[in-house]
Point group: C2
């Protein structure tokens, strides 16, 4: 059953390990000039762990796998391909990376940074999908900032 | 001279009044489903007080004028038209709104909200400009969030 259900993950989406990997990857992305947004909800209903927008609008999805179980119970990771130009996994340093599919890119990360062990192959998005994703990303990021600046918005009807 | 220089404004960009109007407008926008980003730097070098992205990608720039002097010393406000579908002014409640140009929209605001006194006429952006602005907005918003989540990024070279 679990393999059919993307959430909740067996070890919890918010595990300490996953959080550390997320932080390290986000830092790596920012230093590389990529604007990464964590927990980005796609129109499909799935949620990308990180969606990153490059300077020319190139879109990378980074899926964090904090453990072998976390990877094995996600039978649908390939669906993220429809929403990005490049798909990467990001795992902690002790993850047995040989079990991961070779047709995705790979980050190994801790809380302080990440290293790209394998670049992701390019499968360019259709222009209409890119346009819709970019707008969705823009609005999601700005709305999150708005709530941080003005927490009362959370209590208002939105 | 001052009229030629967009910044610094005579009464200071960060005046209490301007901050209050900004907060009220951002709240109004969020409740209306518009994702507003304050202090958005345009490719022209100017900085829009607020750039808001609607659900269909429609772009509104809102220029805050905290006082008559603030308005009169900005001879270049019309340049914002090149970067939005709609241009609006936002002013505090005691502002003499009759001095503002009628060909822009108008918000009156305080720290708790805003009211639209005049909708802005539509002058649709060329698709390439909209595309570039949307990407710039997306990346700016996500980068601000990244720095809030991980303040160490401010000390890193970016």
């Amino acid at each position: 059953m679990r393999a059919l259900l993307p959430e909740p993950r067996p070890d919890g989406r918010q595990s300490e390990t996953a959080r550390a990997v997320q932080r390290g990857v986000l830092r790596h992305l920012a230093l590389a000039g990529m604007a990464g947004l964590p927990e980005f909800s796609l129109v499909s209903g799935r949620r990308a762990d990180i969606l990153a927008m490059g300077p020319k609008g190139e879109i990378t999805i980074i899926e964090i796998k904090s453990s072998v179980t976390d990877f094995r119970t996600d039978a649908k990771w390939h669906e993220y391909r429809d929403f990005c130009d490049r798909l990467m996994f990001a795992v902690p340093v002790d993850f047995p990376v040989e079990i991961l599919p070779e047709e995705t890119g790979l980050f190994v990360a801790d809380a302080f940074g990440a290293e790209c062990l394998r670049p992701a192959p390019l499968h360019p998005l259709p222009p209409a999908t890119r346009k819709a994703l970019t707008l969705r990303f823009a609005r999601a990021a700005a709305m999150r900032l708005a709530v941080l600046y003005d927490p009362d918005l959370l209590r208002a009807e939105m």
